[in-house]
Amino acid sequence: MKIYGVALLAFCFLVGHILGDFLGKAFHLNGNLGGVGFAMLMLILLNDFFKRKKLLAEETESGILFWSKMYIPVVIAMSSTQNVKAALSGGWLALLVGLFATMACYFFIPIMSKLKLNK
């Protein structure tokens, strides 16, 4: 049943968030530290486990796949609700920092990807 997949996804999501929230509190920061990342790791591990045991029915999987296909639409809705005006009114400083910080990160990609080859 598709709802099993949706429920499994919800389970991973919630456990990840609880874990992230717990970590945030542990470091005295009012934020969720990597909750989504933990949820993703959990789903990857569970998926790997279920696949090996042949426990994951195709129907179940399609319940999760539906949401991954909804990802781009969700991102579009998200971008339409960003505070774009504030981003533009942040002035030159915001624009410069945003631009240069992003460029610096891009230039490090080839360097970091070569790092693996050297190992």
Partner: protein, 270 residues
């Protein structure tokens, strides 16, 4: 968790004669905001993919056009919530809110291969640290050059260069002024906009073509929304890898910026 407030005000528009007739329709659209947003996003995507196919001959991905379209639409709205600040479009804030966004990001993990992630493991972790420090140093230096010489402001602006969550978290932790915090949010938003729009164009140049490099990209750049939207427009198969490391970037930033990096800044500045 940001959640939409259900304080729909009767718009003054209804006093205009034409809008009086439309009032019942508008009320229904407002009441069923989430469903209306499905229709709206569907329309945005349809138009964008049409533009991608007919005007750019698939050179610019439909998803990239749709996301830019979304940002443009956000500009039309007034204030913090973009287009959702107009009551009739408030459903967009539910569909694009943090709950459904995170839920659907997690679902993309189903397509990720565990062995691929294990291979990137340590390099990925290193990318998180380098990405955070790099953004912080670049942001902090520019802030210093532009006349900010107190550690609090420099740290907050540097943290904003990580993501728009790290900025305010750091700012409130070190006690920066609210205008500096607003700038740090703006920086984070600009970063995510740049990453969203630029990634499909520069992906080949910087080698963002396989899961391994997508994870490095996510770890270095960090902005989860920008990384995942940019990758979605580049190659949807790469989304889970980039998003996975990117979500940890915010965590890393929230850990390092208000602590070690702030203290180092304090020592350097004084």
């Amino acid at each position: 968790m940001f959640f939409i407030q259900n304080n729909f005000h009767q718009s003054q528009l209804f006093s205009i004669p034409l809008f009086e007739y439309l009032q019942p329709i508008i009320e229904i659209l407002q009441k069923n905001g989430l469903v209306f947003s499905f229709l709206l996003v569907g329309l945005i995507m349809y138009i964008s993919y049409l533009v991608s196919k007919n005007l750019t001959n698939h050179k610019i991905p439909g998803a990239a056009i749709a996301i830019s379209f979304g940002l443009f639409v956000a500009y039309l709205g007034n204030g913090e919530k973009g287009i959702a600040s107009i009551p009739i479009f408030s459903g967009m804030a539910i569909l694009g809110g943090s709950m459904l966004r995170d839920y659907s990001i997690v679902s993309t993990a189903l397509g990720a291969s565990f062995t691929e992630i294990k291979k990137t493991g340590l390099v990925g972790l290193l990318c998180l640290v380098i990405g955070t420090v790099l953004a912080y140093v670049v942001g902090g230096s520019i802030a210093f050059m532009m006349g900010y010489n107190d550690a609090k402001s420099i740290a907050t602006i540097g943290a904003g260069a990580c993501t728009f969550i790290v900025g305010p978290v750091t700012g409130s932790a070190v006690g920066a002024s609210s205008s500096v915090i607003a700038i740090s949010i703006a920086i984070g938003v600009i970063k995510s906009v740049i990453v969203t729009i630029a990634t499909p164009f520069v992906a080949k140049k910087f080698g963002i073509i396989d899961p391994h490099n997508a994870m490095i990209f996510g770890g270095l750049v960090g902005s989860t929304s920008g990384v995942s939207a940019g990758l979605a427009a580049t190659d949807p198969k790469l989304v889970p890898y980039g998003a996975l490391t990117a979500t940890f970037h915010t965590a890393m930033g929230c850990l390092l910026c208000p602590s070690i990096l702030y203290y180092l800044t304090l020592i350097i500045v004084q």
